[in-house]
Symmetry: D2
Subunit: 387 residues, 4 copies
């Protein structure tokens, strides 16, 4: 990876404060390779804790704001104000914060799920288009280089026509009602803060987005979904769900979303079966991709190697054999967000232009998928046309 030549983008954060699950990886990824520069933040629902956290991160005290509206207003007044903001707060706040950010002329990187409904997502999309602002959504796993390899393989016909897609993100960390002790879990199982689903939106949308990256030519025609609340107090939100989908080309997909897959760590896996070969990827071994041609020995493809497609090598930082992890995947995405923003600003983005970029449409599709799943599940697990 070569050093970037553009100036870092002035950037702020909403949420992701001390003790939050996902805050650290946002700034770690954004600052990596100096794509962004952290200059402001409203990190916490507790203003004082948020302010102190920002100062610890090295922020100017005045720019460690008590809440996001104040930040957007104040920064808009500054000549050196933020150009972009990331939103890493609980789900119920995403829509309002993103909307306010766009209205203040900011590019936005928002956590998934982008919002609660397709119509909200469409409103954000319209706004972003009107304002010529980028909206990125942090489907972070998609930044792994082997996902680009998978995409290139499908595109180049290495698998033949696609037949079967098996997706899962099924961990076990919430097998017991841990929400009683853990606030990061508590809001996830409450519809007012989490939205219409728990695991479908929280974990299922990750491999779903990866499937969109690898299989851009396929369209979901109909799906059915069964969801369960094995910890009963979580109802109506599900802690486990199985979704079946039919694509327009006749391919079939399953998606297993779970937080009660006891003893499993991440459990995010993607298997794509074509008429000639299959590929399989597992996010706990993200540097490998299994490539299985029918009638030949299975091959283990390794990140960083010369035999990969060029798209899969662009983000290489360290060569093959050295394991890269989730932080590099996120940093890759943030680089793509940065390049997209710089392009809007008329700067020449180079090199990584073709790489998968989870923008506003990826955010919208995730919300749409959850909406369809919930509609099916709440009707008793029936097939519904994909709307």
């Amino acid at each position: 990876m070569s050093a970037s030549k553009t100036k870092p983008i002035r950037w702020g954060m909403v949420g992701g404060g001390r003790g939050s699950q996902i805050g650290y990886i946002h700034h770690s990824a954004a600052l990596r390779d100096s794509t962004f520069e952290l200059v402001a933040g409203a990190f916490d629902i507790d203003p004082e804790r948020g302010r102190a956290f920002g100062v610890d991160l090295g922020l100017d005290e005045a720019r460690s704001y008590p809440e996001y509206a104040a930040m957007f207003a104040a920064e808009a007044e500054r000549p050196d104000g933020i150009e972009a903001v990331s939103v890493a707060t609980p789900n119920n706040t995403h829509f309002a914060i993103c909307k306010a950010a766009l209205e203040h002329g900011l590019h936005v990187v928002c956590e998934k799920p982008l919002c609660f409904t397709v119509s909200e997502a469409q409103e954000l999309k319209a706004l972003s288009q009107a304002r010529h602002k980028i909206v990125g959504v942090t489907y972070g796993y998609a930044g792994h280089q082997m996902i680009e390899q998978a995409r290139a393989m499908v595109k180049n016909g290495d698998l033949g026509e696609i037949r079967i897609v098996n997706l899962q993100f099924a961990h076990g960390f919430h097998s017991a009602p841990v929400e009683d002790q853990n606030p990061s879990t508590r809001w996830r199982v409450d519809p007012t803060t989490a939205g219409p689903s728990y695991v479908l939106g929280d974990v299922g949308t990750h491999p779903l987005y990866i499937s969109e990256v690898i299989l851009p030519h396929l369209t979901i025609k109909r799906l059915m979904c069964a969801r369960q609340s094995f910890v009963k107090s979580r109802a109506p939100l599900e802690d486990n769900a199985v979704t079946l989908m039919e694509y327009d080309n006749g391919a079939i997909a399953t998606v297993w979303s779970s937080a009660v897959n006891a003893g499993s760590m991440h459990g995010q896996k993607v298997r794509i079966v074509g008429e000639k070969a299959s590929i399989e990827w597992w996010d706990e071994r993200p540097n490998q991709l299994s490539y299985e041609v029918q009638g030949e020995p299975a091959r283990i493809l390794e990140r960083g190697m010369g035999y990969l497609y060029p798209e899969a090598r662009i983000d290489d930082r360290i060569g093959g054999g050295h394991p890269e992890g989730l932080f590099e995947a996120w940093a890759n995405l943030y680089r793509r967000f940065g390049f997209a923003i710089n392009k809007e600003h008329g700067l020449a983005p180079d090199g990584i232009e073709g790489l998968a970029f989870p923008g506003i449409d990826a955010g919208l599709e995730g919300v749409r998928w959850v909406e369809n799943c919930v509609r099916s599940a709440d009707a008793g697990g029936v097939w519904v046309d994909y709307l």
Copy 2:
């Protein structure tokens, strides 16, 4: 494993002739440990080829019959005639051959699927009860020792209440229309010889039976099934199918049956998720069982070790560390068939009495499951009550 003390049971075979897929493992397993003794056979649809094959196997030429009806009749006349017969012919012949065998007073070991319809299976069941004859069905993988371990673990509450059951048997050997060249595949994709399904019955019933062994206390309430013929000429028979099932306790199951999972070898896997822990077993590594307690490191249980439940050690032939394979699994089943037969004969079966035994009910349940899956699939993949 201690040496057996009972005399070998006089035994014959129908089908499983030279070049057949599954014939070798039948006699290899039956003769292992001298449970059975091969004294007669009607091995082939081609009488002459069958006769020659029997002679090569060491049979008396006169008892290597041109066809099964002749065998049943002639053997019934002999004082040293066969007591039991195994049926390893294409599916469409099972019902007639089993029926004839029972009517001739023989114990039967039949290949799966036992027959085409539940009512046929019930007829065989009634006949076997009336004649006091054993009917065994060769769900061979269930003979692996780690399946007994899994069963004991569930029974002893190591997993807690069961929540999720993931079953699959999804190989890739028939990704292309190999039936054009291969007669063993050809009859499988033709409803007149294969019956109402291809992969559901051919492979899906294997992990289904394993789930019955491990989870005897669960009852399927309803299911839905989507089936596809990715090689179009196979329609109406499917080469891929996904089944969802709901159990009476609220648990959910998925079953993936496939012959077009390109590049996969066997692909038979069973994962059982409980509220406390999960277990996972893979038939290509049959000596291991993954045991994953939420919040603890995953454990790899190994066949033959002292820490297993006693049920899992009864069939140990060689101790831990030495891999046993499919032949031992089948030999274990044939030992159980033998003990069951000896018990009917008033001989004292010892030691292995509690071990899983795929009898007439297992055969019937497999046929019932296929029938329900097909009913759902043919109605468009809708939920159907399990009948």
Copy 3:
């Protein structure tokens, strides 16, 4: 695998009685596929227990002998007397029993180590040649089909010139002084019964023989060995040893032999590194062979598949995907012993002639290797020329 056409060879056993570690696999492997037929035995150091065991195995009571000398004498008198005998007793008895067997005109299958010294082995070799009798040695793992694949790959130049050979058989079952309770371990750590070494001979010779099979063109020039008795009461016998070897072509090898590799199951692994590629085999996953060409994705070769070399498919019983285990490996060796014997008898052995066959020279080489290792170790771990 096709049915054999020759008559079973009349066969007896010495040792391998009830409760012995290795007795079961000998008769299971010999009887498999009717290569041999068990007609006599002297199974136990305890005459009465041995007699009862033979009867349980179905022997004529008169031919279940109290001790081997009586058996050899009596069988030699019978027109239907045994033609071959297997020896599965503790090490210190092998030489005398094999010698007596050969002198009685019997073919012999002997357990490793064949005897205690090279000069004893040479005496047995001379005797076997003089009498035109086969001596087979049960390096059982070498019967796995993937070992034939490895051999063919080296022969065909797939690896290029060989550079590095890493061998290990390092289990952990004797980490503690279990010999206090376990007679099968007790004799192994006593030089009067075990011979000049424990783990070198007991486990190390297994991968050593496999390396001889795969690399017939390499000759050991010199070696050095360090051995340890971590359980002190085992001294002078070692429970762990590391051997370094130099081959005539400049390649280097390491051999790790251990019974105190705590927590390891078998731990038998063979890695062969050539200038172009490496292969790696692990006896706990015997159906796979890793093939790693430098600069290409690693490939997992699977037993039973069409892409293997023909030599690797001869012994296939069940096709790819179905795991075969140690019992098939042993049965393959016994088939080769049987064919070799039949060939001596003027019968036409077909098909498997080129396959690796651990005969008298393999037995002798194992003894030689141990002798060299011990000579080095006892001189303080110095390099010694390979004699």
Copy 4:
């Protein structure tokens, strides 16, 4: 991981310029979490290329120096001059650059091997002590959290007395003479630039240092080493080496160092065998540690989990299940370097004080080990007392 409260340390780099193998990870790790701040550099042997690279990294042009001596001199004059420097140049320059840096009052982070001889290393050690400066050495893999877990397990007696240590770093990237095309390889196989060894120093010292971290209580008594130049033009430098070592407690170790292990990726593995249990770690799966208690199922310990020892959780950035990679390992080390420097400066280092820190002694021990190995190898692979 909590946000740091100390100000970033002003930091420069020597070497690690555009296209270098290891430059990127140095600044990526140092800048991570704002432990350091890059303010100067002399990145390249080619002054102009180095200058341009520094500017691309965002440096003030004036502080992107043409060579290190100029940098040390100029920065020493500035009130905001660098406080610390990292050295990522070919081996032959380390001694001179480190010496000059220390003489200019800088803390140093140096690449391994620290220098060519023990006496050079001792000179650097004396200088660093006289100047009260930290010298860190980037044995980067040691920063993985599971290494701390391994260390804590040994310390807490989970393995019992240590018996066997198996170390390897054996990749295959230089199986062919790639140095003809690749300058990063070329200097490695030339003694004037690489020093007295190639793979011993280049890769073998990595797992050696890890063993020192995990087993601080063991002392090497004697060793022997055989080294080979499989690509002949590399002689006298080796591209493969096997080292045997005896510790003062009677334990035995092997170290396999290689660049010609064809088809292997990293191949860095550490296995520690105790009387009760073994642990095994592999740098390509750095988030896992296998823990194998004799007589119990093997356990897979996972990074980030609550059951680990506290030392293994201090550096957790993202929780269990999310894979961390080599960049986090290096960032952890750089944090420790930073805290050590801050401590010298009288600032209170907290939290991570007990964690393994590869300082001047680690650097010296690596050089000493290579010296002993070479002495043994050049004497024909004899045992030498460890000096």
